[in-house]
Amino acid sequence: MTVKKILLVDDSETVLQMEQMILQRDHYEVATARDGAEGIAKAREFKPDLILMDVLMPRLDGFAALRQLRQDPQTSAVPIVMVTSKAELESMETGYQIGCSDYIVKPIDGVELIAKVRNLLGE
């Protein structure tokens, strides 16, 4: 069976570690990036099956990165889940309009994260 690849984009080391731990326990191959610009570059190189994208990040925020990824034929079809804080939740209307696939709210819950990832990977 092919191992599915997931790219995690977040400026918080703690969140990245938490996501990584949950996903690697389920045997996904994981790569990380610390802002939107690095996330776009990593997405082109790593060719993930799914991306978890923080909303508020330095250099390039999650929505701007999402917009660029949707415009790039190489990444336009990759499912992208926005990872948002409660304070940013109302902006998720924008996220859907730009083309996110779903969203989860911090603090991250392992059961919810795995359920959404499996769902979007067709597992």
Binding site: V105, N119, L120
Partner: protein, 171 residues
């Protein structure tokens, strides 16, 4: 037959102008539920998640949940993040505020699967969320007067707790 309440939000805004001043507003986060006997406008954003809106039009009391996963997995404590826990708790809170079970009317929204590749796949998360809502409402004997579920787009839902009116905008 199921009715679909899908209108342009501009229409909604103008129709709400008259009572906007007296209605409280509440933004419902995923995993929460909200019940009010005072008349609130509740807004929430749905992807694969589902919201069940319940209203007793005689008592003018209503409530809404927003759950992420269909069934509590038994680990940890029960939570409104799970459809089975959330719907039962929503009904319990409405009855505790004076609603009558036989007068409750339900509306179900959400359960999208936003990927083209999976639109024909059965039992995706959104569909499982809708399914548990339908099952539990049927078991409780609560009729569903309206639903806008499935599809490939997220939704912005606006719900009036006192009248049961609901509007959906596809995102």
């Amino acid at each position: 037959m199921n009715l679909h309440h899908r209108r342009n939000l501009h229409e909604v805004e103008s129709s709400r102008t008259a009572d906007a001043a007296e209605r409280g507003k509440f933004y419902l986060h995923p995993g929460q539920l909200f019940v009010s006997s005072e008349g609130h406008t509740v807004t929430t954003i749905l992807g694969s998640c589902v919201a069940v809106c319940l209203c007793d039009p005689v008592a003018k009391i209503g409530g809404i949940n927003h759950f992420l996963l269909p069934v509590f997995n038994g680990a940890g404590v029960t939570s409104p993040r799970f459809g089975d826990c959330s719907i039962k708790e929503l009904i319990r809170q409405l009855l505790a505020r004076g609603c009558r079970l036989h007068r409750l009317q339900a509306k179900i929204f959400g359960g999208a699967c936003v990927l083209e590749a999976f639109k024909l796949r059965r039992n995706h998360l959104g569909e499982s969320n809708v399914s548990i809502a339908e099952q539990l409402l049927q078991t409780a004997g609560i009729p569903t007067s309206s639903r806008d579920v499935g599809g490939q787009r997220g939704r912005k839902l606006i719900f009036h707790t006192d009248t049961g009116a609901a509007w959906v905008k596809a995102l």
